[in-house]
Symmetry: C5
Subunit: 92 residues, 5 copies
């Protein structure tokens, strides 16, 4: 699981049928210590109602298809699974 | 899920039997914010009719084998799952 | 499996229902030879009672969902599976 | 799926029993646009009769175990699945 | 599958119950062409009796859990699956 910030959306009219109805967001990975973006930008499916600017928790691989029966049947490998309220890093 | 541009094709006469009939395209990963290529170039299976120059959405790992019964039985780890019409990144 | 040090926590009120009750820790990957952090920082689920400063053993991918029936149903891809007492590297 | 060139072989007398009989080749990933090696070198199982110098198509992860019942039972994560005749990249 | 050299051991008294009894080794990935270490160091489960200094073949992901019924139930993502006798790279 990693952190990211939601930075945009993508539109794909032609796509796998099992993806219809899923909201697709562009996310930018965020380093939890520095709280700044890395250069890793992906497209994630969202079912939590995340919006632009939100800091989110995301998973990759098979974990993205565990969420529901609809997720299980769709070719998904990145999913938002939480919206972050606070990151607390210990002082060194 | 990541974005990429279709840049070519590969031909493989000798291959796993379960791959026969699948169209294989060379894709170049594209950063969704900068809309320019990264250095990551792969071969993806396509069942949506993508063509050279198209910007596509692709998945990796087990997600590539979720698409159909034929996909499930074939050694596939990268698949095109959408053709992108628009990428909309929020102003900072 | 890799080593990491626990450096913090994250709070996410809105999340996938199957994640409720799991403790989420921020971990910083640690090189076992140099015993210093790499730049890889993630969020891991913990069921061993790890705390800040602990050096832990973690897994990624499907391995994170093997641990229990609750793990299996949750969108998890990083889990702490051991707390390290000692790392012993051979002299070259 | 990625491209690679076969550059060698490895011999392992002591190994998991389920690996006995599988041919193991050293492959060097190849960039499909530049047609030159990257620095990524792996060991892949081959059941197509690939030989040194051949350009091959390979998969990683669970895809490597989809190929046959013997593959399914063996700890394999990289497999050669095609021998490339031609790579055709569009002019920019 | 990749090559590595065994460089040490880790001790973890507190760990997932399903990991009890598994030997855990620190390995350092080795480039098969250059026969020198990369900077990738991990912890791998070993059931072949590998020892310090041995060059080994290792797998990652679900492949690490294919080996036995005990492996299947344990949160493992890196396993040693062979001990290398010889690497033979073709002259260019």
């Amino acid at each position: 699981m990693r952190l990211a910030r939601v930075i945009g959306t993508v539109v794909a009219t032609r796509k796998e049928e099992s993806l219809i109805g899923f909201k697709l967001l562009v996310i930018e990975e965020m380093d939890p210590r520095e709280e700044r973006p890395t250069n890793n930008r992906l497209v994630a499916v969202d079912t939590l109602g995340a919006g632009e600017g939100d800091v989110v928790l995301w998973v990759q691989g098979g974990a993205a298809r565990v969420i529901s029966e609809e997720h299980r049947k769709a070719p998904l490998d990145v999913a938002i699974v939480g919206i972050i309220d606070a990151v607390d890093i210990a002082d060194e």
